[in-house]
Every structure is written in C-alpha cells, then in structure tokens.
Amino acid sequence: MSQDWLLKVDNLSVRFQSRGGDAHAVEGVSFEIQRGETLALVGETGCGKSVTARSILRLVPEPPGKYVAGSIKLNVEGKGVVDILSASTKEVMAIRGERISMIFQDPGKALNPSLTIGSQLAEVFGQHRVEMILESAGIEPARASRAEKRIAKQRASFVQLRFFQLTRRSKAAALQKSIDDAVARSLADTGIPNPRKIMKSYPHELSGGMKQRVMIAQALACDPDLLIADEPTTALDVTIQARILELIQDMQKRRGMAVLYITHDLSIVREFADRIAVMYAGHIVETGPAQEVLANPQHPYTNGLLGAIPHRRTPRGQLAAIPGSVPQLIDPPEQCHFASRCQWAAEACLGHVPQLHTIQPNRKVACFRFEEAESLSVAKTDMPIPAEISGEARR
C-alpha cells in the first residue's frame, strides 16, 4: 500500500459532555490529506469543522470533550506513522508547531498582548530549534552549558539571564543575535517590511493584517508539513484578505507543505483549495475536487449553501435560503441530519444515517438519493427521488 498521504483521519468522533446530554460535535469523519495538497473543510457555525481541526493537534479540552472513536494518523517522514490520538503528550508536543501548526481566526486574540512580537516568535525556536540557535551562536549543542541551553530555550529566569549577560558578555550577545536573526528571517519571509522594528513592537501596535502575517511567520517558523488555517481571514478586510491568502499559497508552493483551510466562505475555497469537504452537523456530507463540487454540487445542503450566496444575477429578495436552522447536536436521532431542511426528504431519510457514497471517481456524497433501495433494505417507495448525476456544470 502506498503511503503518500500525510494525514489520515479515520472515523473520528468527538463528543462534548453537557448537562442536557452528550453533544455529538463530530461523528465518523474520515478524510486524507496528501503532501502539498490544499483541503478545505467547509461548513456553517457549529458543524464541527473547528473541532475536527483542533482534534488534529489534540487541542480539544478533555473534559468536557471526549475522543469517542477513530484515529488521526500522521505520516512523519523517516519516522513512520504516529497516531496523534493515542500518542503520549510528549510526542504530541513535538508534533505541534514542528510538523503541524495552526493559525487562528482572530490574530488579536491568538497573540499574547504582554509579549513583544520578537519574544513570542523566539519561543517557537526555543521549543523546537534549540540546537540551531546554539550552533549559529558558535556554541556546540552537545557541549553547551545548562545556562546556555536555558537561554536558547527562552526558559532562563531574569536573574539567570542578567548574570549570564554580565559574566559571559560575548556569548550572551552571540546567543541573542542568533535568536534575533532567526526571528527576523522568519518575519521577513512573510513579506513584513522592516522586521527588526516589528520585533520590538507589541501586538496592539500592529494592524490586523500585520498580526495575521506574524501568526503565519510563527506557524511556519519550523517548516511544518501541514498548516491548519482556521478561518484565517474572517477578521480581516477584503483587500487584506486576498493578500494573506496569496501569502499562504505562496509559502505553500515554496515549502511544499499541505494546507487545511477551515472556512465558511465558499468563494475563498474555489480559488485557493484543491479539494473540499463539506460538513453539516458533525458529518462530512460531500467531498471532491473544489472546482467540480462548486460548479456541480450534488448534496442538497451544498446546493443550498451555494444558492444562498447573494449574487447580482439573483433578483433582489429571491435568494434561495435554506429553510429552518441547524438541528440539535445533543443526542441526535438516527437519521439524515439535513432531512428536516431538505426538499427531497423521504421516509428512508428519517430512519438511517446516510454514509459517504462514491458517485464519481474522487467524489463522494452522503445522500440517499444516490443509493439503491436494496442496499438499505427499505421499500422503494420510501426512497427519495434518485438524483441524476450529471457531469456538466450546473449553470
């Protein structure tokens, strides 16, 4: 079996305990990400896309969260496959920031307001690149003293640091320069003008776009294999949004990393993603190549989502809104979760949960309209009207 996949999420289920019962945030989600590929996880608020993304880094707080089933396997080059969900905390710590890193929706909240940009970025190098810092300061990592290591790791206390600076002046300066250089290089990489000045400033002194660039610099500092971008541009203006997305795309091409976009904005997906997975109420309902899915959506939910986007050609006031609202996630019934809002819903949809079904090579849809009555063992009359799978574009 070829192992060219980078990340394989298999049958992942995450639940949250609450007073009313367990909320099924993610239910049986499976997908793969290849090296260098861009996958977009699309869905509305509360569909479980962020929980899925956080599970990949095991960032879901336990409790109230609970990984009920499934595995998340990361294919580390030269080291074999690691299951993130069953790995030890130490292993996961080594993966975070080094192999997989994440940028968050609101850069204003994700950066520490009481640290300068320079010292926040230095933490990443202190965590993962101690040897590199020691080496470029002219210290052999194997022979470095404890104090030197602590300084490189950004763990030295204030007194220790001052003492070192006073007694070993040249070495302290070399270490500091080596850290600063590494930080400045990573900032300059993301197109930040005048990185030395930015390093000395605090997050509140920067604009939103600049903060997001800092976040990206921080995430890419260790050359990860996978970047998870959780709504990276929702808090930004359109003119800056385009530039940030182009920056991510550019960095991806240069470093050959894979990107997982978490977003609700389908227009971004079309331009920046290779493949798309549409989520609804904790399930993936449709996957396929981004262009094809958006041009020719098969699941009623994807279709509805696309119709709801305001467009100048739709007459005013006649947007095809999806009626109703997202169903309860607490102890959901065994049925298609979209049934209550679906125009095709039939008897069969209320009795079973539809599974992803391959309808074309590369394309899967979880809807009974694409399945045979026999395979479900229900009467033909209870099935929804079968869909005609057409290869041509919708418009």
Partner: protein, 462 residues
C-alpha cells in the same frame, strides 16, 4: 469648505430625501498627558455629503475603520456631529435651496433668503428643529445593529424588548401591547410562542429577527442596517436578506445598508457610496459602480473580493496600510497606497517619510532630524553627505520626485524638499449620477490605466 459643499452635495436631486447630509464631520479629540490636553483629532467622518432617496436602499461600503458605522450613528442621532448639518425630509426643491444657501454668507443673504433659511433650519435641520420634530425623527429612523448578541438586553423578555418602543412612544400596555408585539413577531417570521423567552434562547438568525421587529415597532420610514448579517451564516443571511426585501416592499421602507460585504451590497442596494478614511470617494448606481468603478479604491475593493465564478483580477492592489486618521494625507486620501497615483495627487513631507520607512528602512534609520516649515516644505538632516545622497537617489524616478516643486537639494548633510500644494480632493460628478473624488479620474473622465502609471509609480523599493 464652502466651495466643496456647494460643488458636491446633491446626489439625488430629482427625488425627495429622507435624510440629507451636508459636510458632516465627526472629530474625536485625542487627549494626552497628565492634563489631558487635546493634541489632535481623530477624523472619523470628515466632510460627508449624502442624500438618501425615499423608498430606496443606499449601500455604504468600506473597510473597517473608514467611519461607516460612525456615519450611521450620526444619521440615527446616536452621535452628535462636530460639524455640518443633517436635514430630514427635504423635497427635491428644498435640497437645491439648502445647497444654494449654504454657499451664501449669512451677511449677504437677501431678506427672502434669510427667511427661507430660517424656515428650513427650524423645520428640518437636526439640532435646531423643535422638540416635537426631533422626537418624530427619532421614531422615524430606526437602527438594526450588527451584533444581535449584545444589542438585545439579556435580562429582558422578547415582549419587553420589542414592546419597549411602543411603551415609550405610544403608551401602549397590557393585552394590547402583547397583541401588537405578536403582530410584529409574525411579520418577521417568529410567532406568539416566542413572546416570553429570553434572547439567549434564540439562534443568531432569530435574534436578528427580533432586532428587526424592534426596529419596525413604530412604523418607521427609514431603517439603518449596520452590518445586519455579518455575524450570520450564509444560509441564514439569505433568509434575513429576503425578509428585509419583503419588508421594504410591504412597508415602503428606506434603507441605509452599512456593510463591508460587497456581495451583499451588490444584491441589496440601488445606489452605493464607497467610503475611505472618513470620506466618500465614490457614489453611483450599484451596477454601474461595480461594472466600471470610477475610483481606484472601488476598483481595488471589487477586484479583491473573491467570487464564485470568473478569474479574479489581481493587478489592482493597495500597498501599505491605512494611514493615521489623525493626520490624513493631503489631496486625495488614497494616494500613498494608490496603484495609479501620480504627481498631482497631493504628496507631502509625511508621505516621503512613510514611504522611505516602508521601502528602505536602512536609509530611514540614517535620518537624524526633520525640520518642517509646513506640511509641504522641510529640511531633512543626516549624519553625513553620503547618507543624504543615498536618500535622494532612493527617491529618484519615483512619483514623489515628480510632484516636487523643485528637485531635492543636497546641502552638506541635509536635504531640502518642497512639494506643490494640492487642495483636498472632493466629490465631483463625472458622468450622469456618478461621482468620484479621484483627482486623476476627474481630469480624464475615466479611471486611469494601471500599466502606464505603474511605471511612473515605480516599485523600485520592493
């Protein structure tokens, strides 16, 4: 100031307006030091002329921090303007009168003019009209806020939230109030079963519906929608937009639709006004503005919006960041970031400094002091002559050099720069019903080409 208002105030002269703004300004003082001395003003809204036609939807678009929300608050009376006039319910003729009289010095008015001005200010100017009229205006003009989470009181029942305006303005109470509230809820797609619930029991879309019901309680003519759907998902947004259109048709409402989402504004608005740094830079019918923008900023906004079809044109981009609204750039406010900026766009000393800092930080570090005689003339001092030469050669060939009064002079270790003064850009009508404040567009009649001016602009520093 008077010339600006007389040349550029009326956008919809042929129809009655619900609200007309003349040169409206909102400046917030910046206080510093132990004595809290006022050291400057944040110009959130700086000289806006606008009129909103009855029964239509005007879209107000712009990036965050451009002052669009503040403008909405001024119109609704939640923020007092620090300058300019806001008029309510002017007929087409009255708009013309106001416009003419604002240009005339009060001492030079004829007796007839003076009487007319007095009548106008007493009857329709916000701030000088009678209490009764002000109250009527407040009833007539309602707001739906962006965040339905924080704009509904979490301790009140839906009945109290929606019924509050009725209690205050119409002294309704008891069973009659309940009946009216239920009517309103039904109108926005909710029902009697929601009457005795708290806001936290609703989803985002439902909460926005409650907000809309509250705004409609007093049968207003004019509703300000301040980003009503930006916190909602697409499928719910579609429901709310459809509801808003239905209500407009049913009740003959006028909307001011404030948003940063171009797709939504394109779908909803008849006319749009594009705002940048406190000023309106382009105004016109929505379709025309989107098809052929007449201001570089609108063009950039349109092109950077990813769409579901067609290829996005990536040529038009802004450089740098939004300038400080305390000291906005001279001339056209966009020029330091504009892809088609030319010599006449209002370059000044501050632009040289910020451009040097951004493009060549090494040279910027060598600057010792800057003696400004005014915004357009200054002497920049360096450590030695070599640095001064470096600074000058860095400017060579850029558009900044062209806009100078005379080429920068190197005298020892200092450089003298002096720019041509440029008056501030103002909105001018370019085609029928299309207004733009771009100085170059006003000269040419069309938006300048990118390729030609890009060479002039020179991206040598990047």
């Amino acid at each position: 100031m008077t010339t600006a208002s007389s040349s550029s105030s009326l956008h919809t002269v042929d129809t009655d307006s619900v609200v007309t703004l003349n040169d409206v300004k909102v400046h917030y003082p910046v206080k510093e030091g132990a004595l809290q001395r006022v050291t400057g003003h944040v110009k959130a809204v700086d000289g806006v002329d606008l009129s909103i036609a009855r029964g239509k939807t005007l879209g107000l678009v712009g990036e965050s921090g451009c002052g669009k929300t503040t403008l909405g608050r001024v119109i609704s009376g939640l923020v007092a303007p620090t300058g300019g006039d806001i008029w309510m319910d002017l007929s087409a003729q009255q708009q013309l009168d106001v416009n003419r009289l604002r240009g005339v010095n009060e001492a030079e008015m004829t007796a007839q003019d003076r009487q007319m001005w007095k009548d106008l200010t007493l009857n329709s100017r916000l701030g000088s009209m009678s209490r009764e009229k002000q109250r009527q205006y407040r009833r007539n003009c309602q707001v739906v806020f962006q965040d339905a989470f924080s704009s509904l009181n979490p301790r009140q029942l839906v009945r109290d939230i929606v019924g509050r305006p009725l209690r205050v303005h119409e002294q309704t109470s008891g069973a009659e109030l309940d009946k009216k509230v239920i009517e309103l809820l039904e109108r926005v797609g909710l029902g009697a079963e929601h009457l005795l619930r708290f806001p936290h029991q609703f989803s985002g879309g439902q909460r926005q519906r409650i907000s809309i019901a509250r705004a409609l309680a007093l049968n207003p003519e004019f509703v300000i929608l301040d980003e009503p759907t930006s916190a909602l998902d697409v499928s719910v947004q579609a429901q709310i937009l459809n509801l808003l259109v239905d209500l407009q048709a049913e009740m003959g409402l006028t909307y001011l639709f404030i948003t940063h989402d171009l797709g939504v504004v394109q779908h909803m608005a008849d006319h749009i006004a594009v705002m940048y740094l406190g000023q309106i830079v382009e105004y016109g019918p929505t379709d025309q503005v989107f098809d052929s923008p007449l201001h570089p900023y609108s063009r950039v906004l349109r092109d950077s919006n990813p769409s579901l079809e067609g290829e996005r044109n990536r040529d038009w981009e802004l450089s740098g960041t939004v300038p400080n609204p305390i000291e906005p750039p001279h001339g056209c406010r966009l020029h330091p970031r504009c892809p088609v900026a030319a010599a006449g766009c209002g370059w000044s000393v501050s632009d040289v400094m910020s451009r040097t800092e951004e493009n060549s930080p090494v040279i910027f570090e060598t600057i010792k002091t800057v003696d400004r005689s005014d915004d357009y003339n200054a002497q920049i001092n360096f450590e030695n002559e070599g640095d001064a030469q470096g600074f000058v050669s860095q400017l060579n060939g850029s558009v900044i050099n062209e806009s100078m009064h005379r080429p920068p002079e190197v005298r020892g270790a200092s450089v003298k720069v002096s720019f041509n003064e440029v008056s501030d850009a103002s909105l001018e009508q370019i085609q029928d019903g299309r207004w733009s404040s771009c100085i170059r567009t006003q000269e040419r009649g069309t938006l300048p080409d990118l390729n030609k001016s890009q060479q002039v602009n020179g991206k040598e520093g990047q």
